[in-house]
């Protein structure tokens, strides 16, 4: 079409439409040409193949839409064992427990600085029982569930960083470390994990002592809740405690050979231990006791060290392995409900009677 100075006013509608049509088809043609050039260039420059993908591997990424699995085809709730490394203290922490750990690690929690200060204070005031009791009460009344289970998680770790900001320097406690000096220095024991023997009755004490170390810490006046092979205390100490608490007749401990080898204290350990004792016949637990104890080992409540708010701390974590880990496990699946719902569900165990005074064993 020649370009002239045409005036459009002289044209009627059909001619205008024809013109518009022409212009439109020219534009479309030019656009298509542009596309052809792009493809041509891509082929010539050698990057046209980039658009191709490997069909086989693409199948791996197809979306799955079926009940019970997520879009990757994975079953729900299999992510309980994920771990990560804390950027602050470089320890390996379970992912679902990372937030509470980080809170303590950075010293930001409600209780972090208070607990740290108290630890420093109580390590300087070992002999002042009333003070430590008061502080214990104070702490427990705060209902800080997260702190309790954090301690539990800590106890299970084999490599503790002694430089973590949570510890004061004087309290160093290495799990699994066999040490002769343990005997000489009871103050180093982590005072928060123990049972107050004063509140337990004789039967309970007996059943407790068949499964636990039981050595009473001079610092906190509480019984050690670790297993009979607890490295912190010697057999001598254990024997002495049994004599003290149960009378001279109850002084024998099950042999080392029959012991369940595990630092990890949970309900199953206790039950295995009980059955072994009965099998060996070497236990001097009377048949009635064993029956009642056996009955009671099936009942996790009584086996669990009695926890009362006013007298003991964080026992949920250690004694009641089953109960403790149960609630911990539950938390990781019901993620956000964890903190508060578990706070509400903390089991309240009945108050045992009759305290008695503990002499200095060491």
């Amino acid at each position: 079409m020649k370009m002239e100075d045409m005036s459009l006013s002289g044209l009627d509608n059909t001619k205008l439409e024809a013109l518009a049509q022409d212009i439109y088809s020219d534009l479309v043609e030019d656009a298509c040409l542009g596309l052809c050039f792009e493809v041509h260039r891509a082929v010539k420059q050698g990057y046209f193949f980039l658009d191709d993908t490997d069909q086989e591997s693409m199948k791996d990424f197809e979306i799955v839409d079926q009940p019970g699995v997520d879009i990757f085809g994975q079953v729900y709730n299999q992510w309980k064992n994920k771990e990560c490394v804390c950027p602050n203290c470089n320890r390996s922490i379970a992912a679902s427990r990372f937030a509470p750990h980080l809170e303590k690690c950075l010293g930001m929690g409600r209780n972090s600085s208070r607990i740290a200060n108290r630890r420093i204070a109580s390590s300087n005031n070992m002999n002042n029982k009333s003070e430590s009791d008061q502080e214990d009460n104070d702490d427990v009344n705060d209902n800080d569930w997260s702190y309790g289970s954090e301690k539990k998680a800590k106890k299970r770790k084999s490599d503790k960083n002694p430089n973590s900001p949570r510890r004061s320097k004087s309290v160093k406690h290495k799990n699994g470390e066999l040490s002769n000096s343990v005997n000489a220095d009871p103050y180093k024991y982590n005072y928060n994990t123990g049972i107050n023997y004063e509140t337990l009755g004789p039967d309970e004490l007996r059943s407790l002592l068949t499964t636990q170390c039981g050595v009473i810490s001079e610092h906190t006046k509480k019984m050690c809740t670790r297993s009979q092979r607890c490295p912190q205390h010697t057999d001598e100490q254990r024997r002495a405690v049994r004599v003290f608490l149960l009378g001279p007749s109850a002084s024998s401990l099950p042999d080392a050979d029959t012991m369940v080898e595990s630092d990890c204290y949970d309900a199953s350990d206790g039950q295995v231990l009980m059955s072994r004792l009965q099998w060996d016949g070497s236990s001097d637990i009377s048949p009635s006791d064993s029956a009642s104890s056996k009955a009671s080992t099936n009942n996790s409540d009584s086996k669990k060290p009695k926890k009362k708010k006013k007298t003991s701390l964080g026992l949920n974590s250690t004694g009641g392995g089953g109960g403790g880990s149960g609630s911990g496990g539950g938390s990781s699946s019901q993620s956000s409900l964890v903190g508060l719902s578990n706070r509400k569900k903390k089991p309240k165990l009945p108050v045992p009677p009759a305290p008695s005074i503990y002499d200095n064993l060491n």
Partner: protein, 521 residues
Amino acid sequence: MSPAGCPHVNGFKVDNWKQNLRVIYQCFVWSGSAETRKRKAKSCICHMCGAHLNRLHSCLSCVFFGCFTKKHIHEHAKNKRHNLAIDLLYGGIYCFVCQDYIYDKDMEQIAKEEQRKAWKLQGRFFPLFNPSVGPSGVGEKYSTWEPTKRELELLRHNPKRRKITTNCTIGLRGLINLGNTCFMNCIVQALTHTPLLRDFFLSDRHKCEMQSNSCLVCEMSQLFQEFYSGHRSPHIPFRLLHLVWTHARHLAGYEQQDAHEFLIAALDVLHRHCKGDDNGKKANNPNNCNCIIDQIFTGGLQSDVTCQVCHGVSTTIDPFWDISLDLPGSSTPFWPLSPGGDGSTLNGESHLSGATTLTDCLRRFTRPEHLGSSAKIKCSGCHSYQESTKQLTMKKLPIVACFHLKRFEHSAKLRRKIPTYVSFPLELDMTPFMASSKESRMNGQYQQSVDVFNNDNKYSLFAVVNHQGTLESGHYTTFIRQHKDQWFKCDDAVITKASIKDVLDSEGYLLFYHKQFLEYE
């Protein structure tokens, strides 16, 4: 000579060939201004048949235009042995000996430069996150990515490429709950599925200027890499948590937090850490920041206070990142809906027997509010304290509009969650709530004809954050949209497919809308 070139250009590359080529490009191919365009139109006709179109080519060795389709340029080439011609439409160079278009590196370079110059002259504007766009409109040409030789080699040796198609899981990934961190997970899911933000981070646009390792923007960038890595196991965002707690102390602590608060804090920290991407310009000017967060999320809220006596209006414009809307059922009275007023069927929502819609909430938000005698404002017109009305409208809408439904009531009398169902649409038109609409209403144009061609204010839903539970404890989940009309439910580590109905029936706490049509600045 590149593999796509040909040996025949060597005959051309003599004397002052570069300058000659530039002249050809400037005059006949890329027209920078109206004059050059006119000149091109007038002078570029086939010397043999007079046609303007038909793929006109210009001989590179002499002044000759010939059309391609009628082979006039071919004849010229044969006769004069001028082997090269240039296509006047797209600037491609044709070699008659090879009988194909060739791509010579040097000539390509010249072509690119000339094209860039012409575009600059034309005043073409370019994509949003190019900070060199200034008020005069001069910008850089946006060029698509082309691989270098080395990259091509690498790609050829590694054929297992992942292409993101509509049925692809890439881009979706679960997030482990670190202990009451579902509030963080849901916001992270919403942010990673914000299209513009995703494009920004995937094209590596963040240049970090922070010395230490604690830049949150770098961590976001890393997060996108994790999401698009193709891994199926959920990601553990522990570093992100640590960084957020470090930079936003008020959120730190192992307890349940509010997702909306987290969103604001996260945007704030990202905004502060984004300084490096500004190219140094206006880095510290809070009103004029050009970082990606501001470009995407910041809008302007206009507040007009009208004096009742002299009707003078004082206007202020405040920036905002989100819009918090009151709900019916709270202790503050919900404004009654204007009977059948404009926009009752706007946005495709139907008033199902009194169900509140998002538009109702917006209308309440932008209604004129009488401030009462206890809150008299000093009027500059009357020079005295007078009663006034206040009205909020949107001056500038952000690209991503986040609506926060105020479901948590913390009044003196009670603290509770308001579970009222609010229906929200998939497509939202914000035109009635704009400051400009209000002006035209005030000027007497009561009938707001819906301008079909004005696409400025149309938004589409792309993420919904929901809260289940009570004020004290609950759980957050998110619905996000991927691949246009495919919705997914993100519940911490578990991602499942969801239907549009699931999304629209959900309660809704935070609603994220994205502009449908992006206007280049």
